[in-house]
């Protein structure tokens, strides 16, 4: 069975890129562009992993994580942000991994593999 990944990324081009690349890796990817849509999807599907950006219009990724922790503590979360500095925000420590966005998706892919396997 394919593992389900919820992808939250407000940049449309990046959202498409991650969705395609993770699908190619063999995952079932649900991509959304904001936190509200992510919460709605969480009610519908039993996801195995969440990949989220931090800076987004509306609710940001940290607020999203806080809310997800209240709903389902067991889902692993990867923060995928353009900002290095959010690593210093202790709220991001709640996530299972922190990846700084890069043109190479290798780090993101390997963190996903570590957390939920292929």
């Amino acid at each position: 069975m394919k593992k389900n990944i919820l992808l939250v990324e407000d940049e449309k081009a990046l959202c498409l890129l991650y969705e395609e690349e993770l699908t190619r890796e063999g995952y079932a990817v649900t991509a959304v562009t904001n936190a509200e849509a992510a919460l709605a999807e969480l009610g519908k599907t039993a996801f195995d992993l969440i990949v989220t950006d931090i800076r987004m219009p509306g609710k940001n990724g940290i607020e999203l994580i806080t809310q997800i922790m209240g709903l389902r503590k067991d889902i692993p979360i990867i923060i995928n942000s353009a900002y290095q500095s959010y690593k210093e925000d202790f709220m991001t420590w709640a996530a299972d991994a922190y990846v700084v966005k890069s043109a190479s998706l290798d780090e993101l892919k390997s963190k996903i593999k570590q957390l939920i396997g292929d």
Binding site: E11, A13, L14, L16, L17, E20, E21, R55, P57, A82, Y83, Q84, S85, K101, S102, A103, S104, L105
Partner: protein, 446 residues
């Protein structure tokens, strides 16, 4: 009953006490957006003009580190020149503005002016070794020097330059700190310096000291704000640049894989092109905001610049689907700003107004005199309005509510308005719209 008065009243009568005339000249000039150098020139002018204290010559030193450095020296070089200059300056109808302009030309000339003789002079402000003039700055005391040639405390190099027997040293103080010194004399008329002259010159020294102090503080503050903005900028740039770079890199990697279908190849290339354009746009805007210094403001007619903005293709395209009302007073006054920055600021406000307003809404530009010396250019929209928490952040660099905005438009506006001595005023109600007012210093056309 209420009577209203302007701070900038009409010039004092000729028979007004000279203290009043002097204070009036100096405080009026501080009210103008003159540069530090210009305002110091005003003080020297006030000290030497006939309607002020009336010294023949005034010399200004500014303190840099622990040294007094000669900055400007105002006055005639000889009795003949004095006769000529004083004749020009006492022509009826010549006000202090004209005198300042005349003096500005005088100190900025390249030839052998008094100022050029002073420029190379530097004296250490050192308690142990200082001689006059630095001695007065060290002691923080006003010194009247007579028979200078035989006074051992007078620096010989200084005596060679000033070449006069009697002169007055006024240290410029603020909060117990020495910021410079003014040296005054009557080298041409040989009139003795009176206790009344000393009192008045001392007063000027205090005003000048405090003026230099507050200007320096203001510069430091602006610098700190700039540094803080740079820090935020560094963080913001990372994000703004990284996203398009990741997209370009990621989609290029996909293209490099074998057997990419034609439609995907086209799609990826389109995305890459769009993201590169975005990068270009980001770099342009950053460069624009980072322009180290804006041009010096000058008086100009805003009419043609405004017409250029309204007719520009950007505004024409953006205003499609909206009602754009322009209500400008006939015969606009001259306003004080850099014309190019002015155009950019107005275009920016229009841009924001259209972005905030749903299609079909109205944007209204008005231009009117607020009073004799103030001109208002306002841009009103019927858009979504700005919430109170957002209002506090409007002028912070990189704050934006737009999806693709950089948050640099309004900080730039504020910088431009600060530079020209103007003001930005914002009124807004959520759901009703916003009103941005730019308030400029203005003057009538000649």
């Amino acid at each position: 009953m209420i009577e209203k008065y302007n701070f900038l009243g009409s010039d004092f009568e000729r028979d007004a006490p000279r203290e009043m005339v002097l204070l009036s000249i100096i405080s009026q000039s501080f009210f103008q957006p003159f540069s530090l150098e210009d305002n110091l020139l005003v003080i020297l002018t006030a000290l030497t003009s006939g309607s002020g204290v009336g010294f023949n010559r005034a010399m200004l030193f500014l303190k840099q580190g622990d040294r007094l450095k000669g900055e400007m020296w105002l006055g005639p070089r000889s009795a003949e020149e004095a006769g000529f200059i004083w004749e020009v300056l006492s022509t009826p109808g010549i006000g202090y503005i004209e005198i300042i302009e005349h003096n500005r030309a005088l100190v900025s000339k390249n030839e052998d002016t008094l100022s050029s003789r002073l420029k190379g002079l530097v004296f250490a402000v050192d308690e142990e070794t200082a001689l006059i003039p630095a001695y007065a700055a060290c002691r923080k005391e006003i010194l009247l020097v007579r028979e200078a040639a035989s006074e051992p405390l007078v620096d010989k190099r200084f005596l060679d330059v000033i070449q006069v027997d009697e002169f007055l040293c006024i240290p410029l103080l603020a909060r117990d700190e020495v910021l410079g010194e003014i040296v005054l004399d009557n080298a041409i008329t040989r009139t003795p310096i009176t206790p009344a002259d000393i009192k008045l010159a001392g007063l000027c020294g205090l005003i000048a000291g405090n003026y230099i102090y507050s200007t320096t503080l203001h510069r430091k503050l602006l610098n700190m704000e700039k540094m803080a903005a740079m820090g935020e900028m560094a963080m913001f740039v990372t994000h703004q640049l990284r996203n398009p770079i990741v997209a370009v890199g990621g989609f290029t990697d996909q293209l490099l894989k074998p057997d990419v279908p034609e439609d995907k190849r086209r799609r990826n290339l389109t995305i890459i092109r769009d993201e590169v354009r975005r990068l270009e746009d980001i770099i342009y805007q950053m460069g624009h905001f980072l322009k180290v210094s804006l041009k010096e403001p000058a008086y100009f007619d805003p009419g043609p610049v405004l017409a250029g903005v309204f007719d520009s293709p950007e505004v024409q395209t953006k205003s499609q689907g909206y009602t754009l009302n322009v209500k400008l007073e006939p015969c606009l006054p001259l306003i004080l700003c850099d014309p190019i920055s002015f155009g950019e600021v107005v275009r920016n406000l229009l841009d924001n107004a259209f972005d905030a307003t749903p299609t079909g809404g109205a944007v209204t530009v008005r231009g009117y005199r607020k009073n004799r010396s103030g001109f208002v250019l306002s841009v009103r929209d019927t858009g979504r309005g700005i919430s109170n928490p957002d209002k506090d952040q409007l002028f912070r660099p990189f704050f934006t509510t737009k999806e693709k905005g950089m948050g640099l438009g309004l900080p730039f506006t504020k910088r431009v308005m600060d530079t020209c001595g103007g003001k930005v005023d914002v009124q807004s109600r959520v759901g009703k719209g916003s009103l941005f007012k730019l308030i400029f210093i203005c003057r009538e056309r000649e």
